[in-house]
Each structure stands twice: as structure tokens, then as C-alpha cells.
Amino acid sequence: MGKAIKYGDDVNTDVIIPSRYLVLTDPNELAKHAMEGVDPSFIKKSKDAIVVAGSNFGCGSSREQAPISLKYSGIGCVIAKSFARIFYRNAINIGLPVLECENLSNLVQDGDRLSLDLKSGKIKNLSRNISAQAQPLPDFILELIEMDGLLNKLKKAIV
């Protein structure tokens, strides 16, 4: 459960984490600058929030610092109409849940309280008493998120 922070279409990796911060190696330091390019106040409201966005979220660079900065900002999930390919993979790989939901953006206003069941993809807007259905995650992606990312899987494979 969390409050929605809403953005539009084509939120790119440069605005999620501007290039000049990519030399930073501490994920908590990166998080301080998350979404700085579109919303400098993001980090003040991100804890336990849910990011709701339009189409093509995360387009642009392959920089994994983009989903890392979001994860360490404390958000629980990004729900978008669609994601750019590299961002989607990166988010899953680091254990940041990302869900595709066609119409959620139209049913949610900034600050609405949402509840979410990751397994089924059922979303409730508690502020407006509306439900939405995200595309359920395939099992192997759910497994990666439950393991908090690909590294833990690789670790097991190596031992």
C-alpha cells in the first residue's frame, strides 16, 4: 500500500538520474537525486510510494543507476502503461517490481492511496474505490523479484 506519485509518458533515464551523478557509487547517494530531472521534490515523498506513469517509462540509457536510484528512494513499485525494454530488464534484475497496466494512469490522481497485489496484478485505488488489473508477472520474473534480483540467483548458481 502506498501513495501514488504520478508522471506522464516517456519518462527517460536522464531525468530519472541525470548523467552527472553516474560517477556516484553509493546507491543511497544516487537515490537523493532520483527523478531530479522531472520532480526535484520526489525524494521527500518517495518512501513507500508507488510511481504511476504513462507509456515508455525508462526510455534511453542502459544505466542501471536509474532503477537503483528509484529502489533506494523507497518506492514499492513502478506501474506504467508500458516500459522501455532495457529499463524493464534492469528493474527486474535488481529486484524493483514493475507492472504494466493499460489504464491505471487515467484512474489515479497524484497522492491517491493505492493497494497492490504483486502476484495477481490487482490494484485498488482506495481513495476513489476503483480497481484495475495489471498484467500479471510471469513466474520467472516473480521469482527474480522474490529473490531480490538476479544476483542472488547467480550467487546460488556459482556456489
Binding site: 536522464d14 552527472r20 526510455c59 544505466r63 534480483g149 556459482i158
Partner: protein, 420 residues
């Protein structure tokens, strides 16, 4: 099958694959730079891995912040240098050795036609120019590649882009791609690939093919590819004696859709702030005043680009109202530009020529823009704050448009510009 399905079939050991199928492929070459590579190295150690899967198939390039412009950048370089030494990775390109990774990968023949190549940088799609499947991935996926040499892929649906006709003078592959971006939009090829075909592509140099494949990610594409032909094979064979197989699409290959484009009447185009698909004819945007012009990057910092720029700048000077920064994409290009006298032309015109680096294109450390400033750039992205201040603006165009605009200090159509 189309070329991508054939390459992925070979790499996954299957007879055939179909769009949407999830396959696991053997990787022929993997590239990291310091911005994404330092994370891969951290994760590699974190999971307790001891040795990379194949030290001869990993390429490490310092390119985003070279020479190091800050202590933080220097620390990232150090991590890369030590890892290359520890793992005995020979293809390590330090400052002054290689240049921008995507140019180096093709120039030094780390990529061959038919290969499956991944790079921890989104513009890895560039190598489709010589008939390879190449795509950008993140640092964690790269850790999987470093340790296992394999990675899963979803076989992409392919869009055939048929391009015919001849470019007018000072209209170039960059203008062609901006036209494609306008048609498809910034997510029009998300999860898909583009195969470029037709007479224009056959006539196009490898340099030009690298430009159009480079920008495929800007429409969301996973790969861009041109099947190998005489031009690309001559290029590759002049740089390596390694064996490779020539893979092409079947005549009856299936595509999701076909785009038909004729370039005979194509005019110079410009991508306006802040989205790559916000494309207008240069003639409609003429007069916009420019604080900075940048020519370079993995999109348009090649020798062919620099030659056009020199042709235009020769005997002219950069406007007093603007500054021109030129960055060759690699050390090899830099040297050739010097030997051909291009660098002299640039300096006499009043340009600053910097060493190969991604710094200017991605707002890292060279030519950063102040608030309110406007730049015309030959790079691939004009996102908000891309080259510096969040309040600066970036227009994208071809090297010819950039060179003419540097002389006038305003966005100017190179096809109608009369020198002097």
C-alpha cells in the same frame, strides 16, 4: 527467417526461432564502459565469482569521462584498470588508446558479422551496421554474461525499413534516421528490431550505416541491422583475418511491417527539444540562435562526418555568438583527421577539438550547457538536461547542418546556405 532470427537460432543452438520466443544465447563478445562496468565488477565480486567466462571475449573501454574530470571518475577508471589486469583482459582501452566504445568495437574488429554482442550501453545497437545482432543491457545482466557467457533474449519482431533513392548534397544518413524517428515515434519500435534495406542502404558507407543503427534505441528498438554486403565485408576483412559466417535474411522472410522511404526529396531535418521524435525540417527552424554547436559522439563523430564538416568550415569562421566543439569518435579517427588536415581546418575556423570521449553528448564533463543555453548537436538524444542544465535546450541534426549553423550562429539549412 530474417537475419535476426537466423543469428539467434545459431547462437542458441536451435534449428529455428520465432518472434516472442524466449531463448538463451551464447555471447560472442561483451563490452563495458566505466559508467556501467564498475557496477558489473562490484556485482561480480559480490556473488563470489573468481574468473570471467572468457577473457578474450570481453572488451573494456574507458570512454564516458576521459581523461578523468573528477576524483570520482578517476576511481571508476581505477576499478576498471585493476579488473582488466586481474582477469587478464587484453582488450582494455585506457585513456588515449581507443576512444568511444561503439566506434572501437567495430574499428578494432571485436564484432564480426553474424555475432551476438551485448554492451552495457544503450547504443550498442550500432554494430548492426556490419550485420551483427548487438544490443544494450544493464550491469546486472552483464554480470550474468561475465560469469556464464550466456543471456536470455526474447526474439524481437522485425520491421523492414526499405530505403531507396539518392541523397541530395548535404543530406545524410542522420537526416534519414530523424525521418524514421518522426514516423515511428520514440517508442514505435519498443521490443522490436529494424532491418534496413534498399538501394540507399547498399550505397551507404559503413560510417553511415553505423549512424542509423546507432539511433535505433531512440525509437525503442532492440536491434538495428544491415545484412552483410560487399561494402561491410570489405570493411571487416580489412580489419581482421578472423573467420565468420555471412548470415542474410531469406527472400521470403517475415516482418511485422514494412516502411518505405524515398530519400530523393529528403531535406535536412532537426529534432527539437526535448524528444527525439519532435522532428521538423531545418528550413522551418532557421534563425534559432545557438550558444553552442557540438559535432561528434558515437552517432556522428566518424571520419565521413568530419570530412563534410571540414568541407563546409574551410575558409570560414565560427560565429562570434557561438562556440563549436568537435570530438572525433576514436583515436584512429582523430589521427586520420589530423593527417588529412581536417583538424587544422577546424582550428583555423575557431573550433575547439577535444579528445574522443562521450563527455559532451551525455552531459558528463565537457561542453556542459548553462541555464537558458541552446545547443545544436550531432548526437542522439535531446532529453531535458541531457548536456547540462535542466534549463538548457538541445537540437539534434546532421554534421552538415551543425557545421553551417556554427558559421551563422543560428540554425541554418545547409542545402540553401551560400558561403561568404
Amino acid at each position: 527467417m530474417n537475419i535476426i532470427e537466423k543469428i539467434l537460432s545459431r547462437a542458441s543452438g536451435k534449428e529455428s526461432v520465432y518472434p516472442g520466443e524466449i531463448i538463451e544465447a551464447n555471447i560472442d563478445c561483451a563490452m563495458v564502459n566505466e559508467i556501467t562496468g564498475h557496477l558489473t565488477i562490484k556485482y561480480f565480486h559480490e556473488i563470489g565469482a573468481k574468473e570471467v567466462w572468457n577473457k578474450d571475449k570481453i572488451v573494456m573501454v574507458l570512454d564516458h569521462t576521459i581523461p578523468a574530470g573528477s576524483v570520482e571518475a578517476a576511481e571508476l577508471h581505477k576499478i576498471m584498470r585493476e579488473f582488466a589486469r586481474e582477469q587478464e583482459i587484453k582488450a582494455f582501452y585506457d585513456v588515449g588508446r581507443g576512444g568511444i566504445s561503439h566506434q572501437v568495437m567495430v574499428e578494432k574488429a571485436h564484432v564480426k558479422p553474424g555475432d551476438v554482442v551485448v554492451g552495457a550501453d544503450s547504443h550498442t545497437c550500432t554494430y548492426g551496421a556490419i550485420g551483427a545482432f548487438s544490443t544494450g543491457i544493464g550491469s546486472t545482466d552483464m554480470t550474468a554474461v561475465f560469469t556464464t557467457g550466456r543471456l536470455w533474449f526474447k526474439v524481437p519482431k522485425m520491421i523492414k525499413v526499405m530505403v531507396n533513392g539518392n541523397f541530395r548534397k548535404f543530406v545524410s544518413p542522420k537526416d534519414l534516421f530523424l525521418k524514421i524517428a518522426k514516423i515511428l515515434g520514440v517508442s514505435g519500435a519498443n521490443y522490436k528490431g529494424l532491418e534496413f534495406k534498399g538501394s540507399t542502404i547498399s550505397e551507404m558507407s559503413v560510417d553511415g550505416r553505423m549512424t542509423i543503427c546507432n539511433m535505433v534505441i531512440e525509437v525503442g528498438g532492440k536491434v538495428g541491422i544491415v545484412e552483410p554486403d560487399k561494402k561491410s565485408l570489405t570493411y571487416v576483412k580489412s580489419r581482421t583475418s578472423d573467420q565468420f559466417s555471412i548470415i542474410k535474411s531469406d527472400p521470403d522472410a517475415e516482418y511485422e511491417r514494412t516502411l518505405e522511404i524515398t530519400v530523393n526529396n529528403l531535406r535536412p531535418l532537426v529534432s527539437c527539444p526535448n524528444a527525439v521524435d519532435n522532428v521538423k525540417p531545418v528550413s522551418e527552424m532557421e534563425g534559432i540562435e545557438l550558444d553552442q554547436v557540438f559535432i561528434g559522439s558515437c552517432t556522428n563523430g566518424r571520419l565521413e562526418d568530419l570530412r563534410i564538416v571540414a568541407e563546409i568550415l574551410k575558409g570560414n569562421t565560427v560565429s562570434n555568438n557561438t562556440r563549436l566543439i568537435i570530438i572525433p569518435a576514436s583515436q584512429e579517427i582523430y589521427l586520420n583527421a589530423l593527417l588529412e588536415g581536417l583538424i587544422e581546418t577546424f582550428l583555423l575556423a575557431g573550433a575547439t577539438v577535444a579528445n574522443p570521449t562521450c563527455g559532451a553528448c551525455y552531459g558528463g564533463h565537457i561542453g556542459m550547457l548553462a541555464s537558458g543555453e541552446v545547443c545544436l548537436s550531432t548526437t542522439n538524444r535531446n532529453f531535458i538536461g541531457r548536456m547540462g542544465s535542466l534549463k538548457s535546450k538541445v537540437y539534434l541534426a546532421s554534421p552538415a547542418t551543425a557545421a553551417v549553423s556554427a558559421i551563422t550562429g543560428r540554425i541554418t539549412d545547409p542545402t540553401s546556405y551560400k558561403s561568404g
